[in-house]
């Protein structure tokens, strides 16, 4: 056995996608201060998303939603040992540069914040920090991957406490992947055109039957049953935004969703953790929403 200084590479696709692999089967929780971050970590969260207002409050308050104050992000980084993610506005590469300089573990280029560019998303390849992006369908997911996203989350409709849009988006992405997987090689060119996605990625999905990066679910998950539902629909992990800290007993809700995510195939465990939880967040009927965040991003 010999060893000298081993040359090493940072920021490779394998290293960036690798952290997403480590988050599989876990719950990523939105937190707005170090106290909430501790509650999340205590409950078994795999990561926290540091932001100033949870989506339900952004929706209520209106105005321009931007990247969080670096001080708040640093306080949360100091409070927990698990990965800390933060959000940048769609297309706002300067916010992303700042978040990378702050040493956050993941950047969410998120429709929950007010978009900064109505045509272009961030070119994510030059960054060392990995990015997660939302998608409502397979074409959108593949466009984000072509820009360098290392993790895709189905968008759902953030801040509503209503899982219906998350289900719609997951089912759409899965159905489109099944279509590609069963397609003849000759059909992939036209399918790529329909999906408005790069041919090479379309061919990769057709061969593998799945995305080249993990697929998580976000937007409206607010009970252990919701988590079990989306995992059974093929999500590999869940983001829970307003659903925890807008519920009656956040610490218990957080723990219950963590357990339901692990034991999603065992209804007896999901039943047990759902028992006597107190009320979930009140929520919104999405049909009556004035603003749909999922429509942001293209």
């Amino acid at each position: 056995m010999t060893s000298s200084t081993n040359p090493s590479v940072t920021g490779s696709a394998l290293v960036k996608r690798g952290l997403a692999d480590m988050l599989r089967g876990g719950v990523i929780m939105d937190v707005v201060n170090p106290e909430q971050a501790k509650i999340a970590e205590d409950a078994g969260a795999v990561a926290v998303m540091a932001l100033e207002r949870v989506p339900a409050d952004i929706r209520r308050d209106g105005g321009v939603a931007r990247m969080s104050d670096p001080l708040m992000i640093q306080e949360i980084q100091a409070a927990v040992t698990i990965p800390v993610m933060a959000k940048a506005r769609i297309g706002h590469f300067a916010e992303a540069q700042i978040l990378q300089a702050l040493d956050v573990d993941y950047i969410d280029e998120s429709e929950v914040l007010t978009p900064a560019d109505e045509e272009n998303h961030i070119d994510k390849w030059p960054f060392t920090v990995p990015f997660v992006c939302g998608a409502t369908n397979l074409g959108e997911a593949l466009r984000r991957i072509s820009e360098g996203a290392c993790l895709i989350r189905s968008k759902g409709e953030a801040g509503t406490g209503n899982v219906v849009e998350a289900v719609r988006h997951l089912r759409t992405i899965n159905a489109q992947m099944r279509r590609l997987h069963s397609a003849d090689a000759n059909e992939l060119y036209a399918l790529a055109k329909d999906l408005q996605a790069p041919l090479a990625l379309v061919q990769e999905v057709a061969l593998a039957g799945k995305l080249p990066v993990p697929l998580f679910c976000a937007g409206g998950i607010s009970t252990p049953a919701d988590a079990s539902l989306v995992l059974q629909l093929g999500a590999e992990a869940v983001f829970v935004g307003s659903g925890i800290f807008k519920s009656e007993d956040p610490a218990r809700m957080a723990q219950a969703i963590v357990e339901a995510t692990t034991h999603f195939e065992d209804p007896s465990v999901v039943a047990k953790v759902s028992t006597g939880l107190g009320s979930a967040m009140k929520g919104w009927e999405t049909a009556t929403l004035e603003q749909r965040l999922a429509e942001r991003g293209w």
Partner: protein, 194 residues
Amino acid sequence: MKRVGVLSLQGDVGEHVSMLEALGSEVVKVRTVEQLNSVDGLVLPGGESTTIAHLLGTSGLKDVLGAKLEQGLPVFGTCAGLILLSTVVLDGRSDQWSYGALSLSVRRNGYGRQIASFESTLDVKGLGGVPGVFIRAPRIESYGDDVEVLATLDHGDGTGEHPVFVRQDRVWGASFHPELTGDARLHELFLNSL
């Protein structure tokens, strides 16, 4: 044929399962005591050590696995799995517990946060060059005499060589993720030891 379990509470379970299946093992995803009781060896995957530790507690597996480790169950831990098998965990949560099956002191995120995560080639005893993927990896700071060091890494930060792949009797640990690469030789070593 030996039955190998992969602890499936959280983490990159799928990669370990595929690798072990490709090597011809019968693989069991372990979430319950019953499943744990059915295996001849167990892999502790990468993931978040605080989350996996929490779920070991709530699933009732924590003490059963502890007893099995004492009885000599062969176990291979990668990254978070290595942390769970260690004796001392530095920079962890104040209530972070571990099994103490490997006489190691490990520092969580000892190579830095995600931006510092890296790939390197490791020289593994008996195997030669093996790709190493380190994701917010733990660093082995010190180890006991009963630990056999099978690979080290000098990260060029002035602290010299640190072990990255070790074995102590029937327990194996890697601070990196062999399961994220196409190289199954470390898993093969573990399977051959069963």
